[in-house]
């Protein structure tokens, strides 16, 4: 038991670190809040003036905002669904003993090491290009009309690219979890009369629940701020079809030179991210208790 005395000392000793972290967080946040309350356009330098909540009103009533909100949710949800389901299936597959398993495992991890811009450009130019892309060639080979992915299904295309990048991460974490499953539990359930599907449903899946929550949490943090893939492929278009919140804020501040509006968007994004975080923490808390 720490005494009263040593507790005071402990607080004193950690206070510099706490203050540094607090400043690190509060100063940028404070500045953003401050900018969001100004009429501040880079095209009119020196004309900054107080406007109250006008920036927020404009941002929240902009139809692009609702498109961006929906796109963000679809993007995060779509990638999570694909990577978690695909990750479980791949992990089950890679857990089987087969010849060359070591090499295959390394290959599976490879996409994770590729920079988002590079992978997006490769997807855009080598696979999805309607004239010279691999998919176009394949379609022509089958006698079909080539499909212009980025023009006609821009959000879906980006979901595909991002999923490809994050699938290895999910697979890796789920595979590790799968390998920690006690084989006697599986054998016991087999003797208890569970067939393959029931063993998966009642033994394997509950065992993976924690790992799945971790995958969802970590991926959500990164997926909420997807940016590079959009910038180098669709530029948020056509229209706002593939604009997410991050991209909208970028467009507001750096394409329209509206620093105030961008800052207001940033604050709104922070609030939304925190709402998501609260939901996730609830879910995780429940799962980690179990």
């Amino acid at each position: 038991m720490p005494t009263q005395h040593s507790r005071v000392h402990a607080r004193l000793m950690i206070s510099p670190a706490v203050l540094l972290l607090l400043g690190w967080m509060l100063i940028p946040l404070g500045l953003t809040v401050y900018f969001s309350l100004l009429r501040y356009n880079l095209l009119m330098p020196g004309m900054e003036q107080w406007t109250g909540l006008t920036n927020y009103r404009f941002f929240l009533t902009d139809p692009a905002f609702f498109d961006a909100l929906r796109n963000t949710l679809v993007l995060v949800g779509g990638v999570l669904a694909i990577t978690v389901i695909g990750g479980v299936l791949l992990a089950l597959l890679l857990d089987q003993p087969f010849w060359g398993r070591g090499i295959v495992r390394v290959l599976v991890i490879a996409p994770f090491f590729i920079m988002p811009t590079v992978s997006a450009l490769v997807w855009k130019n080598m696979f999805m290009n309607p004239v010279s892309g691999l998919f176009a060639h394949a379609a022509k080979g089958l006698g079909l009309e080539p499909f212009d992915f980025l023009a006609h299904a821009p959000l879906f295309s980006i979901i595909l690219m991002v999923s490809w990048q994050w699938l290895p991460f999910a697979t890796l974490i789920l595979l590790t979890a799968l390998q920690s499953l006690d084989s006697e539990q599986l054998e016991a359930s087999e003797m208890d009369g569970a067939n393959y599907w029931n063993r998966f449903l009642f033994i394997v899946l509950p065992h993976l629940a924690r790992a799945i929550t971790v995958v969802i949490l970590i991926q959500t943090i990164f997926l909420l701020s997807i940016f590079a893939e959009i910038l180098v492929t669709t530029n948020g278009g056509p229209g706002t079809a593939s604009t997410n919140l991050t991209f909208l804020i970028y467009a507001q501040s750096l394409l329209h030179f509206d620093v105030g509006g961008g800052a207001a968007g940033g604050i709104i994004a922070i609030i939304l991210a925190n709402i998501v975080a609260i939901f996730l923490m609830r879910m995780i808390g429940k799962n980690l208790d179990a």
């Binding site: 054998e187 569970a194 009642f202």
Partner: protein, 334 residues
């Protein structure tokens, strides 16, 4: 019914033959214990019976029907694993109900059987806990409960008590024996502990390196071990072996005598020696006596009050009727 017959069953992992072809008959309602040192293939043999491993050659019959190719779930056997293998994310109730649920029983029927098993095993107040909130002995009982509700033709136990402390082990040993008395179902029990084997078994199967050394009742194995391995494995403290002249005089390569079949005296006897260590257990005293002719050290059981200590000269006399004689190959000479 719960009759199991192994016919020339063998098992190899790659090039290593873990179980040499062996025959074994287990009758209905019998309590059979497989005993042997670690790594001798006891678990493998049990898993072959369970169907968790495929036989390399031979035939397994359960209740007179060829079960060699029958999957584990269809053999109507229940197994209790060394690690308990409880399902950690299910409550005790759901753990015990799991086999019933898999069999497609109705909810009410499931609950009735679970309550019944919980009552027999004193688990009623723990039904809503998770396995990790239970002590080792309680987990063991849940594992047994999960086996009981299936109403199997035979129970298979793989070293179920080895993770428990000594006092609890004695308790659970009694509980399992009592369970066998009341259920009258065949039980096959694996252990490396000869005390468990002696106290629980109706029939003991002694294994060594994948070979059955002897099959018999505990007293048969104790009083007429077929070879030196069985003689040394069964009984505690272990049997004394004397080689050389003393053995040759009795027409054997070596002779064996249990500590409890030696009479100790301070005045006269067949063999002279000095006491090395005396262990006082209260009820008994075990003396480790170095023979004066240098032919070895013998363990002797004396009464609890026996006073001799380190360095005292004593005389030992074997009971001729309890002397075991073995030939050069280690086999018993009648």
């Amino acid at each position: 019914m719960g009759q199991i017959r192994l016919d020339a069953v063998s098992k190899s992992f790659g090039d290593v033959e873990v179980i040499r072809p062996l025959d074994l008959e287990i009758s209905d309602g019998e309590f059979v214990v497989f005993v042997g040192p670690s790594g001798c293939g006891k678990s493998t043999l049990l898993r072959l019976i369970a169907g968790l491993e495929d036989v390399t050659s031979g035939r397994i019959e359960i209740d007179g029907v060829d079960a060699t190719a029958v999957p584990p779930a269809k053999r109507r056997l229940a197994m209790v694993f060394q690690s308990y293998a409880l399902y950690p994310h299910m409550s005790v109730r759901k753990n015990i109900a799991f086999p019933l649920r898999m069999a497609g029983l109705g909810k009410d029927e499931q609950m009735r059987k679970v309550e019944e098993a919980a009552r027999v095993l004193n688990l009623t107040e723990y039904l809503d806990r998770r396995p990790r909130q239970l002590s080792g002995g309680q987990r063991q009982r849940v594992a047994i409960g999960r086996a009981i509700v299936r109403d199997p033709t035979a129970f298979l136990f793989d070293e179920p008590l080895s993770n428990l402390d000594a006092a609890l082990r004695v308790n659970m040993r009694l509980e399992i024996s009592e369970l066998h008395q009341s259920l009258e179902t065949t039980m096959v029990y694996v252990t490396h502990d000869q005390v468990e084997a002696m106290t629980m078994a109706e029939k003991i199967v002694v294994l060594q390196e994948g070979v059955i050394e002897q099959v018999g009742s505990p007293m048969e194995l104790y009083s007429a071990p077929r070879n030196r391995f069985v003689a040394g494995f069964i009984g505690s403290p272990t049997m004394n072996f004397v080689n050389g002249e003393e053995a040759a005089r009795r027409g054997a390569h070596s002779i064996g005598i249990r500590p409890e079949h030696l009479t100790i005296s301070t005045t006269d006897g067949a063999w002279q020696g000095t006491v090395g260590v005396a262990e006082h257990l209260g009820s008994d005293t075990f003396l480790y006596v170095h023979l004066s002719d240098g032919s070895g050290t013998l363990t002797v059981r004396a009464g609890g009050e026996y006073g001799a200590g380190h360095g005292d000269t004593v005389y030992l006399t074997p009971d001729p009727a309890k002397l075991h004689r073995f030939d050069a190959a280690g086999l018993r000479i009648e």
